[in-house]
């Protein structure tokens, strides 16, 4: 197994600067400011705010704009490549929201039209087009999404989970971000002027960049990503830490990951959004870290605008272009040095040889990422083999369903009773201080409740440092309320609080703030497999550390949006929501249970189930390790999932208990997280409760429980005694 660098063997980019590497390079060489008042949706404000828009020939609604931008970048990155990537990791915050906004505005209630709303649908679209049948992961950590996606892709390559990964980010302009950032007074009416003394904010933009990453070099001398680091401020929902503590931690982590020092950096590609607070805190962090030897630095967001989730990926490509073609891009829009920052950015493009670039991406919720692109090949390192590495031990757990919190849910479920339903707000927020949740609607309250209860009674040294949170649909209440008020007030008075709460990573940010978790903070979104994605991310982030991580997934039921977006919800007997969370730590612990994601692949291929059974060690492996299977058969895919289950039972010759858990938990995205918590409880009692198998208790005999996800994807979570 190799560690260290991964090669960029293909790149694709589309932004307000243009389509493809050459148009991008041309715009950068000419320091072109690509901010305009073009907008893909009607704007009723008295004054247009400059944006970084992409000229798309086809302006239809299907597929949504983010999907089209991602396709443009992916097609370039995969050009001339016959073999599909082993995995896809995409960062996005918008998914199909632009289309959803238009439909919602027109009061269209045909669910088919909302079919590509989900964030995960962008990466799934790329997977279908490229023939990728492996893991398809969607990351949503606001403006650092693209960089975090690349970090996770590196992790997959380094641990041998994949040999070639398509990774990047995509976001389209939409009402939510345009009016949302404006409501936060974070938009510069004259266009972004990063680092300038008179800067007043950012310019929202759109775009996509995709990188085909591989452990093996491509044909040409291709740049590599040699390190990446993540951190969380755990400070404020929208404002960065004033001294840039989190930004510095991410940059340090990236340097450590790459095994280089600050003196090796030739160019710093700053996050530099142009907001007063971001640029100040980033400047402080960079100055503290680099001291007097600050290399040339610039932000390109005065040229491109801020393409949000795409920013990290776009700037990784710009970093690679810098190295490949010898260019330090200008900090377009900058006129006057801000004495408060004490940084003089590069104001005209510099043609010179560049070997190593540091690129920053910071997001709402204090989600920070830093990445290092380099031309210098690093020697391969030997990582400890998988068998030497301890598993992820379960230190704490909590779940939430219509029946209540963990104890109530377990009692109902183990008695074979339905625990599906929508828990009332008061019961949901039990144990949370009123002041803590006064601005939080349903999903963030669920997330905090899971975190508080899972960490209840846990020793200080086992409290989570990192957070990995999965959600299929994000904060539906906040998203709905924001859009509703935007429409009702003719775009005049959108709620800043709802905008802040609407971002998918808001719940994980709230958890980090509550627990002071300053390590990596990741939010994944992949429909019914969002918990599995969060678990995969957690596994990758803990390869080199014993820092505890809180892994959870939850989804809220929203009376308008849930049935519009989620086909399984439409088929459900009654509304339901909930989630589950596990506090995990990589260590040996006798008597504790361990959790691992054993498989994640597409549900489409004919041999999908066969691959799953092989991954589990065949019939012998199944029999040796598992006493029960909890299986998730999403209502919307019940026939397909049932066929997959029949095939699984035939191939694995599994004779133990099989529990169809959604019949009891109800239909919602985070249901497999509830199932995983309940599986852990079963391990604790050593048996499958009789009512679940229509008879008496079935002893597990020291074996584990497999939590199987079927339908569009086939996933398997292994929960076993250590």
């Amino acid at each position: 197994m190799t560690g260290g660098a991964v090669y960029i063997v293909g790149m694709g980019i589309v932004s307000s600067l243009g389509l493809g590497l050459d148009e991008t390079m041309d715009a950068l060489i000419n320091a072109r400011r690509a901010l305009t008042t073009a907008s893909p949706f009607p704007i009723a404000l008295p004054r247009y705010l400059p944006v970084g828009a992409v000229s798309l020939a086809d302006a239809g609604q299907s597929p949504p704009r983010t999907h089209r931008l991602a396709r443009l970048a992916a097609d370039q990155a995969l050009a001339g490549c016959d073999i599909p990537p082993d995995a896809i990791v995409l960062g996005t915050t918008t998914g199909g929201i632009l289309t959803t906004e238009s439909l919602f505005e027109q009061q269209i209630d045909d669910p088919k039209r909302y079919g590509l709303h989900a964030l995960g649908s962008v990466a799934e679209d790329l997977a279908r087009r490229s023939g990728c049948t492996g893991p398809v992961i969607t990351v949503s950590t606001a403006c650092s999404s693209g960089a975090v996606a690349i970090k996770l892709a590196m992790g997959m390559l380094r641990c041998g989970l994949a040999r070639r990964v398509l990774a990047g980010g995509a976001d389209s302009l939409c009402r939510l971000t345009y009016f949302g950032f404006n409501a936060l007074q974070l938009i510069d009416p004259d266009g972004a002027r990063p680092l300038d003394r008179d800067r007043r904010g950012m310019s929202v933009a759109e775009g996509s960049a995709m990188l085909l990453l591989s452990l093996a070099p491509g044909d040409a001398a291709c740049p590599q990503i040699i390190g990446a680091g993540l951190s969380c401020d755990a400070y404020h929902a929208t404002t960065p830490h004033p001294e840039g503590a989190g930004a510095m931690a991410a940059m340090r982590a990236a340097l450590d990951d790459a095994g280089i020092s600050v003196s090796d950096i030739d160019y710093i590609n700053l996050h530099g959004t142009g907001t007063i607070d971001n640029d100040l805190s980033e400047a402080r962090a960079v100055k503290t870290l680099f001291g007097p030897g600050l290399p040339p630095a610039s932000s390109i967001k005065g040229a491109t605008g801020h393409p949000l989730a795409a920013a990290g990926a776009i700037e990784a490509v710009v970093g690679a272009l810098s190295i490949d073609r010898g260019l330090i891009p200008a900090n377009v829009g900058h006129r006057t040095i801000d004495p408060a920052l004490g940084i003089a950015p590069v104001t005209s493009p510099l043609r010179r040889s560049v070997s190593t670039v540091l690129s920053n991406s910071f997001g709402f919720g204090g989600n920070n990422a830093a990445m290092i692109v380099s031309r210098t090949a690093r020697p391969l390192e030997t990582s400890p083999s998988a068998s030497d590495r301890p598993g992820l031990t379960i230190v704490g757990r909590a779940c939430l369903t219509g029946a209540g919190l963990t104890d109530e849910t377990r009692r109902a479920f183990f008695a074979g009773h339905a625990c599906r339903g929508v828990l009332a707000g008061g019961a949901l927020a039990q144990g949370l201080a009123p002041r803590l949740i006064r601005r939080l609607k349903r999903l963030p309250q669920m997330a905090l409740s899971l975190a508080v209860h899972a960490c209840d009674g846990v020793d200080a040294e086992r409290m989570p440092v990192m957070v990995s949170f999965g959600t299929a649909w994000g904060a539906l209440s906040e998203t709905h309320d924001f859009l509703e008020r935007l429409i009702e007030t003719d775009q005049q008075y959108p709620s800043p609080t709802d905008f802040i709460g609407s971002v998918h990573n808001a719940p994980a940010g709230q958890i980090a703030m509550l627990l002071g978790a300053k390590g990596a903070n990741v939010t994944t979104s992949g429909g019914d497999y969002s918990f599995e994605q969060a678990l995969l991310a957690a596994d990758l982030l803990t390869r080199q550390t014993a820092d505890p991580i809180f892994v959870a997934a939850a989804d809220e039921h929203h009376p308008v949006f849930s049935p519009l977006f989620d086909a399984s919800v439409r088929l459900a007997a009654q509304p339901a929501d909930g989630g589950g969370g596990l506090l995990l730590q990589r260590r040996q612990a006798k008597g504790a249970s361990c959790i691992a994601l054993a498989h994640y692949g597409s549900g489409e291929p004919a041999d999908g189930v066969k691959t799953l059974v092989q991954a589990l060690g065949g019939a012998a492996g199944m029999d040796r390790r598992f006493g029960a299977v909890m299986v998730g058969l999403p209502a919307a895919r019940r026939k397909q999932a049932q066929r997959q289950l029949d095939s699984f039972l035939e191939l694995s010759r599994f004779q133990g208990a099989v529990i169809d858990y959604r019949r009891l938990t109800g239909e919602f995205g985070g249901a497999s997280a509830v199932a995983s918590v309940l599986a852990t409880e079963m391990l604790g009692r050593g048996s499958v409760p009789g009512p679940l198998v229509g008879g008496t208790d079935q002893a597990l005999n020291g074996k584990g429980v497999l939590v199987l996800g079927l339908g569009d994807f086939i996933t398997a979570i292994r929960i076993v005694p250590s």
């Binding site: 007074q185 929902a237 002041r435 006064r438 601005r439 005049q492 008075y493 800043p496 609080t497 802040i500």
Partner: protein
């Protein structure tokens, strides 16, 4: 002015969903932001929207906001001064 102050107290408690705070708990000359009430920068933005919507007064940058939102009295005075529909 007193009527405006009383009105603002009710609105603030209502839109900010401040738990355990009654309108009369807001002191006219105490720090409005960062004090015991727990009002922070996000609340300020929410108040900005409310003031624009209900009184037609825009407070669209941070520097101005810092002055206007110093206390409830400074806020009321600013609205009084700028609002097209309020008698002076």
């Amino acid at each position: 002015m007193d009527q405006l102050i009383a009105e603002l107290k009710t609105k603030i408690v209502d839109i900010l969903n401040l738990p355990d705070v009654n309108p009369e708990d807001i002191q006219e000359d105490a720090h409005l932001v960062g004090g015991e009430l727990g009002i922070d920068s996000i609340d300020v933005l929410e108040m900005v929207i409310m003031i624009e919507k209900d009184y037609g007064v825009a407070i669209n940058n941070k520097e101005l906001g810092a002055k206007v939102f110093a206390t409830l009295r400074t806020l009321a005075a600013y609205i009084q001064e700028k609002a097209p529909e309020l008698p002076n």
